[in-house]
């Protein structure tokens, strides 16, 4: 039943992204709160619903954004895939895994968006886009990673309480 917390959390993260985070750029890049939240959630111990979360966030962002809908869906699923891949390898340093997932996920999302928009015939100068959008956005996501990870860890402990050791 506690899994239903996903609905308000996902909606809240997308709303915060639209109303606040997207309006606080560094150069021209912005952070991606749903992506960071998803990465943090997927890295928590015992979490079994990260794929569902990724799909829900992807559909919601794809619905709101003007970017082709498959870009956020594929990118967020990729973020969970990377997180699942790393969680068993660097489990002793979850914050390091968080940084790695945020970094790879952000780069994937931005470069995938860039490639798709170019494929759709929208002029996107590569070097300018990387310098003004991709790198600043990545930095902002890494800055956002620490507080979001802490919040999502508390949330995961509430949804999936650890078994008591006698």
């Amino acid at each position: 039943m506690r899994n239903l917390i996903a609905i308000p959390v996902i909606i809240l993260s997308v709303q915060l992204q639209l109303s606040i985070v997207s309006r606080v750029p560094l150069l021209s890049g912005t952070a991606d709160l749903p992506l960071v939240m998803l990465a943090a959630w997927a890295l928590q111990d015992g979490v079994e619903t990260s794929w569902h979360w990724a799909l829900a966030v992807g559909v919601l962002v794809g619905f709101v954004s003007a970017i082709p809908f498959f870009v956020p869906i594929a990118s967020y699923l990729f973020v969970v895939f990377i997180a699942q891949l790393l969680v068993s390898r660097v489990w002793q340093t979850p914050l390091l895994a968080m940084f790695i997932v945020s970094l790879i996920g952000t780069l994937f999302l931005n470069l995938f968006s860039l490639g798709t928009l170019r494929l759709f015939g929208i002029p996107m100068p590569i070097s300018e886009s990387i310098g003004l959008f991709v790198l600043p956005g990545t930095l902002l996501n890494l800055l956002l990673a620490i507080p979001v990870f802490a919040i999502m860890r508390d949330l995961a402990r509430w949804v999936y309480p650890l078994p008591e050791i006698e």
Binding site: V14, Q15, Q17, L18, S19, S22, R23, P25, S28, G29, T30, D32, P34, V61, V64, S65, A66, I67, P72, S113, L114, L117, I122, P123, M124, P125, E128, S129, L132, F133, G137
Partner: protein, 279 residues
Amino acid sequence: MRNLLSRTLQTTIIFLVVGGVLALALGGYFGPVSNAVSQSLVNLQTWFSSRFVAVQDMLTAPRDVASLRQRNAELEAEVAELQAQVIQLQQQVGETEILAALVDFSRANPENTYLAAAVIGKDPSPFLHYVIINRGSNDGILRGMPVVTNQGLVGRVDAVIADASRVQLITDPASNVNVRLQNAETEASLVGSVTGDLSLDLIPQDLTIEEGDLVLTSGLGGGYPPDLIVGQVVNIRTRESDLFQQATVQPVVDFNRLQIVLIIVNFTPVDISPLQPAP
């Protein structure tokens, strides 16, 4: 009788002495002496007074500090409340000013019917220049309707749901607006870019354009109504090898501070895509 004379004499002498002393004092003959005496008295009085005040402070200070602290906390709370009110009022004044300007604009352009909407979000993708507004199909908004402010053209409605719409700004890299230069009386194409800069393209080489020329919508193509202000030419790039001149346009609208916009609801965009030849 003798006693009476003696007493009268004594009284007279006393009066004379006192009167003489007073006369000498008023004449300034006792200045140094009276100064020294008065200074000593004043110093003594000051010493007593200061000690008394110190003792009084010591005895009453704790009570005063407590009451002052309480009063200070009350005043700080009051100041915080007033500051919040000031911020709220400033925000309301700002919104009122924007709305007043929009009302003036709609009165000055009675040929169009406007619907005001608040900007409630920005597209999550940083590569695209779209905003979300709080009016949708329930308010009669249709895809393609132009969006303006009192300053000039903002963009057009790109997608609509029941209570919200997505607006493509003219700065979006996929945006293309047919415009005309007011002074040069020529038409051109205004395109956005990923950085938000606006460029004029397809300006004939033989045409003379100048910085500061006003850029207006031409109405060609049926996407926008004519004569909406877009911006001013700020930079011209002419190369002999190119077919057309190019120019940079400074938009009149500050897209970073969009709060309230007007949708032109009586304009029906014309879809000319079936008439365009396939590439």
